[in-house]
């Protein structure tokens, strides 16, 4: 087990280097260190010397990939790419264009993101699975078919619609919750209710359909027939057998996104004015702050890879047939 985890982590390193390479190329393809210096030093009288000293100060005077001035191994290591990658690998994200410490910002903004994303995730999981079980219990009935039609319709409406309609209905017309904003602690609950509700509702269509198909796949298996033949009630069959066996395919889809919950939701957070990582990213995109985008890309990939590893581990825990 431990050996397997170590192997997976080692395997993640080349992937992260690849991710780095992609973002690095995207960044420096359009943005030379000279441009960055000019943008940073502002509209003041920018002399070539000033640019040079700024670049030396930040280590941007090195060539991108291959340093021909150096000898041996340092030909590769004394380059901008290696230097920037090493910084990212030690989770040192540097400073944004507005000279703020990105690492510190991320730490502060993680909590608001989680306070929306985690409840949404858990509530959505429970509602979707129970609704899907209900539909499977009444499969083929009018309830099932009509709910499936509703599910397709919910799926087909843009997520932006739910947010805008929810804000208008619950905040503007009924005044149940404030339209946007955030507060930490218990006072902030009123701010996160609506985003959570909308997040759950918007995902119900695709979620229920997915879980239902998983359960339906199980229900035609031999062991279910055996369970029925033993005289078990349909409800016992569903909860005791179908749900438990359905957990395995559910795990693959669900565990992988848990770490990514830290990243928050881009749209939701910016609509509701929540100072989380999602709105942080959107602001960075809008102000074309590439340093932040780069940091978030790296963070997102790390979390995704962690999710993949967690999926494998959870498999061994829940399915004794799987051995690592």
């Amino acid at each position: 087990m431990l050996a397997y985890i170590i192997k997976r982590i080692l395997y993640a390193i080349p992937i992260l280097i690849g991710v780095n390479l992609i973002t690095f190329m995207l960044f420096f393809m359009v943005n030379s260190p000279d441009d960055m210096a000019r943008a940073q030093l502002g509209a003041k009288q920018v002399t070539p010397e000033l640019i040079q000293s700024w670049k030396e100060e930040r280590g941007y005077d090195k060539p991108l990939f291959i340093n021909s001035k150096e000898e041996g191994l340092s030909k590769v290591t004394h380059t901008l790419f290696v230097q920037e990658s090493l910084k990212l690998f030690s989770f040192d994200f540097g400073f944004s264009d507005s000279n703020r410490d990105i690492g510190a910002d991320i730490k502060v903004r993680m909590i608001p993101s989680l306070s929306i994303a985690l409840p949404t995730f858990i509530i959505a999981l429970i509602t979707n699975i129970s609704l899907a079980l209900l539909l499977v219990l009444f499969r083929g009935s009018l309830l099932d078919t009509s709910m499936m039609v509703v599910a397709v319709m919910i799926m087909s409406i843009s997520g932006l619609f739910y947010i805008i309609a929810g804000q208008v209905l619950f905040s503007k017309i009924w005044h149940w919750v404030p339209i946007s904003g955030y507060e930490s602690g218990w006072d902030g609950v009123k701010f996160i209710l609506l985003p959570i509700f909308i997040g759950v509702f918007a995902g119900i269509g695709s979620g229920v359909r997915w879980y239902r198909s998983i359960f339906l796949e199980q229900i035609n298996q031999d062991y279910v027939r055996t369970a029925r033949a033993k005289g078990l009630s349909e409800i016992k069959v569903l909860f005791g057998h179908v749900l438990r066996n359905g957990m395995l395919p559910i795990l693959t889809g669900v565990v992988v996104i848990i770490p990514s919950l830290f990243m928050g939701s881009l749209i939701m957070e910016s609509f509701f004015g929540i100072p989380g990582l999602g709105s942080y990213t959107i602001d960075a995109i809008n102000s074309q702050d590439f340093a932040i985008v780069k940091a978030m890309v790296f963070l997102g990939s790390v979390l995704y890879i962690v999710g993949l590893i967690l999926t494998d581990i959870s498999y061994t825990l829940f399915d004794p047939r799987v051995k690592l």
Binding site: V19, I22, M29, V30, V152, Q288, V293, M296, V297, G300
Partner: protein, 456 residues
């Protein structure tokens, strides 16, 4: 008049050619023809494909761009000069709506402006009045015009339907009509025709009334929302189809070679798609679009007009979306290829000394077709919805381009006004909803018929 071919136009028309070739292939092979027959046996599939074709029709109409000749004053010069601006056939159709720009917001079918303005009348008093709209018929002929439009709509759609029936069944025209009305035809043509007639009647009603009203209201600067909604169809459909079209060859070539050749080829391709798919999608798109923006700012010579600029940006966006979305299909195709290449008929082909590429062409790709098709139709609706989100984030299509995302983005803040300005959002969402719903229903049906796991 001079035809102009934008980049995306060229892609759209090449797509049409591909579709026609594909249809020819389908008609030639009785086996595939039978599968499609099964797909269209469902009336939902029939109705949704009619809706999809309707949207495709407007996309194509909007993909023929012209430069009109300037009126030659004295007929002296032999050379014809052209207007700098390009117009599409759809623009020509809605020319009256483009010209009839009001001052500001107005509600659907309104005859006065939405907000009151302060006016000084003859006696020198200031008054708050709702100014009448400039290009709206002031008489109350709404019902009369509606009835006329509906009558025209019914006649036109009925004629088109009858023509289609006659074209399909020339000999037994009357019997065919009877069968269709009774719902006894082999395919549910009745549903198809009813859907078609509904669409045509609605369109003609909207279009004819658009001459005397702003049917869906006007936006902040007085632009007609109906026209904007129809213009946005092209952007949405293009992003939905062309993205898959661009990523398809990459996914198929890489997926098949990874599954078939194995070894280091497999390792490299697996590494490639794991790396790409580990980057959160929106962020990769955002990073790509940001880079592209800077690149386009640095090369202003690539395009002459703003339309060309926004078109180029759309093309880049489609390419970036393609780069980010081929990975999942590639993974599926690799797994399936691995499975197929172990099967007896491939081994037999190998034993007969059939070349590798012939095996791929004859035995592997045909067996992957259902996965490819399912993923194309599944991705379509997701991409149409993604366009709106991306435009909201600021990494979507050019802000000057008509798209549902831009409409939503611009109208988003208007909900905070008192009273609300809801029609821009409403139209964008409704137009999007119909397209995505049709695509979802169609893809459900395709999945049901083609996916071997669903045969229980």
């Amino acid at each position: 008049m001079k035809l102009v071919l934008l980049w995306t136009d060229a892609l759209v028309w090449s797509l049409v050619v591909v579709l026609l070739i594909w249809a020819w292939v389908i008609l030639r092979s009785p086996q595939i023809k039978k599968t499609w027959h099964t797909i269209f046996k469902s009336s939902i599939a029939m109705a949704s494909s009619v809706v999809l074709l309707f949207y495709l029709f407007f996309t194509l109409l909007d993909s023929i761009h012209l430069r009109l000749a300037l009126p030659d004053e004295a007929q002296k010069s032999q050379t014809v000069t052209y207007e700098a601006q390009m117009v599409s056939l759809l623009d020509l159709m809605f020319a009256h709506n483009i010209q009839h720009t009001e001052r500001t917001y107005s509600a659907p079918f309104a005859t006065v402006e939405y907000t009151s303005s302060i006016v000084v009348n003859k006696e020198g008093q200031t008054k708050q009045v709702y100014l009448p709209l400039k290009y709206v018929a002031s008489d109350n002929g709404f019902w009369g015009k509606s009835l006329k439009a509906l009558a025209v709509g019914v006649c036109v759609s009925l004629l088109l339907v009858l023509f289609h029936i006659w074209w399909r069944e020339k000999r037994r025209f009357v019997e065919a009509c009877k069968e269709i009305v009774q719902g006894k035809s082999a395919l549910p043509w009745r549903t198809a025709y009813v859907t078609f007639m509904l669409l045509v009647i609605t369109f003609i009603w909207l279009y004819m009334l658009s001459y005397s009203y702003h049917v869906l209201g006007t936006d902040k600067v007085g632009g007609d929302v109906l026209y904007q909604s129809f213009k946005s169809i092209r952007t949405g459909v293009l992003i939905g189809i062309l993205t898959t079209l661009i990523m398809l060859p990459v996914a198929v070539i890489l997926g098949v070679s990874a599954g078939l050749f194995g070894g280091w080829v497999d390792d490299v391709i697996q590494y490639l798609y794991t790396t790409l798919s580990s980057i959160p999608g929106v962020l990769l798109i955002a990073a790509g679009v940001l880079s592209m923006q800077v690149m386009m700012d640095n090369h202003p010579t690539w395009f002459e007009t703003t339309l060309e600029r926004s078109d180029l940006r759309l093309l880049f966006l489609i390419i970036i979306l393609g780069i980010t979305s081929w990975t999942s299909l590639c993974r599926l195709l690799r797994a399936e290829t691995l499975k197929i290449s172990q099967m007896e008929f491939v081994t037999a082909a190998k034993a007969f000394g059939v070349g590798k590429f012939t095996i791929i062409r004859r035995h592997i790709v045909p067996n992957l077709m259902h996965i490819i098709l399912i993923s194309v139709v599944l991705d379509f609706s997701g991409l149409v919805l993604a366009e709106a989100v991306l435009s909201y984030v600021g990494v979507g299509v050019d802000p000057t381009m008509h798209s549902w995302g831009n409409m939503i983005n611009q109208a988003r803040l208007e909900m905070a006004r008192e009273p609300m300005v809801w029609w821009s959002l409403f139209s964008a969402f409704v137009f999007m909803f119909i397209l995505v719903l049709a695509a979802n229903l169609f893809s459900d049906r395709i999945q049901k018929v083609l996916d071997p796991r669903n045969n229980t």
